[in-house]
Amino acid sequence: MTMAPIEEAPAAGPPEPAQRVVDAALRCIARWGLAKTTLDDVAREAGYSRATVYRMFPGGKDGLVQAVAAEEVRRFFAGLAVVLDGAGTLEELLVGGMTEAARRVQGHTALQFLLAHELGAVLPHVAFANKAGVFDAAGAFARPYLERWMAPEQAARAAEWVTRVLLSYVACPAEDVDMTDAESVRALVRTFVLPGLRRPAAVDSSL
């Protein structure tokens, strides 16, 4: 699950009521986890009455949790887009994008709480068959950026491959790779990822 740190939310004016509730929910989750967080806690944290929060999220806690997840995915990609928009080369795009994504995951206190204490709340949504959803979301987001440097079909392949690399090293860190460090990611990208993207997609029988 990919969520942006709450402090990096768009800072234009006071947050919409729903955003205020989402941010309050994130603080509660970061403090106590998902299982122990109630809608009452979130209402109190947001400074709203219980009735107001229930009106905003008629689905109750499940509805709120879904809204929080959707909002955090949106913020994650919005933050990533800022970095990708500024990339002048394919290498910069990959290094900047992967580093920023890893930093956002590691800096997300609510997500980190869940990964440390309530894995069951996150993993089933992003593992095995459900990883396809992660590939789809990442692909839909990254393809237009990659298409500045390659054909659409190749961009789709590259988007999924880069997502695999990122997920593997973030979920199970390697001793000599720090995904939040741009130079470490650059070495990984140059050695392992770029050579695959610069080759024609056809089978190379010489290997």
Partner: protein, 188 residues
Amino acid sequence: MADDVRERILQAAFACVARYGLAKTTVEDAARAAGLSRATVYRYFPGGRDQLVREVISWEAGRFFARLAAAVAGAPDLPALLEEALVFAHEAVESHEVLQKVLQTEPEVLLGQLTVDADRIVGLVKVFLLPSFEAVALPAGAGAATVADYVARMVLSLIESPGRWDLTDRDQVKDLVRTELLAPLSQV
């Protein structure tokens, strides 16, 4: 001898998980299925049910990769070995009834344990691949261990979730292995 008893308990516990699932398997079930007393099971698994369930997952994961290693043992070269590994492992995951049932009905404990084991599993595959990478020319600045670690990770990622790839289609697997997976060797 002790190893035999341990193995017998794990085998019995796996059979229980296949029948009842992870959450409903008890020390008593495993003891009965193994033909041993509860006390004996507790002697080998002092943490009781939770430890037994965790170790059964790691045990079956170990067996899975042993079957995979055996399946690819005859491959003539590295690309062929990786192709065979992807095709075999994908089929083995898809047709693993216990794994598929648990993923459908009670994924939390399983995925939690696989996450704990992730380092060890990457290590297993990496050690298996290492001799192949020691035998080929590598890109400047990357040792065989680093390349084997990367390729092991990507193989595991593909086995877990094939994404856009049809891993039952040999032509696609050939393309995948020679383009993305072995990209680090393409510049040498």
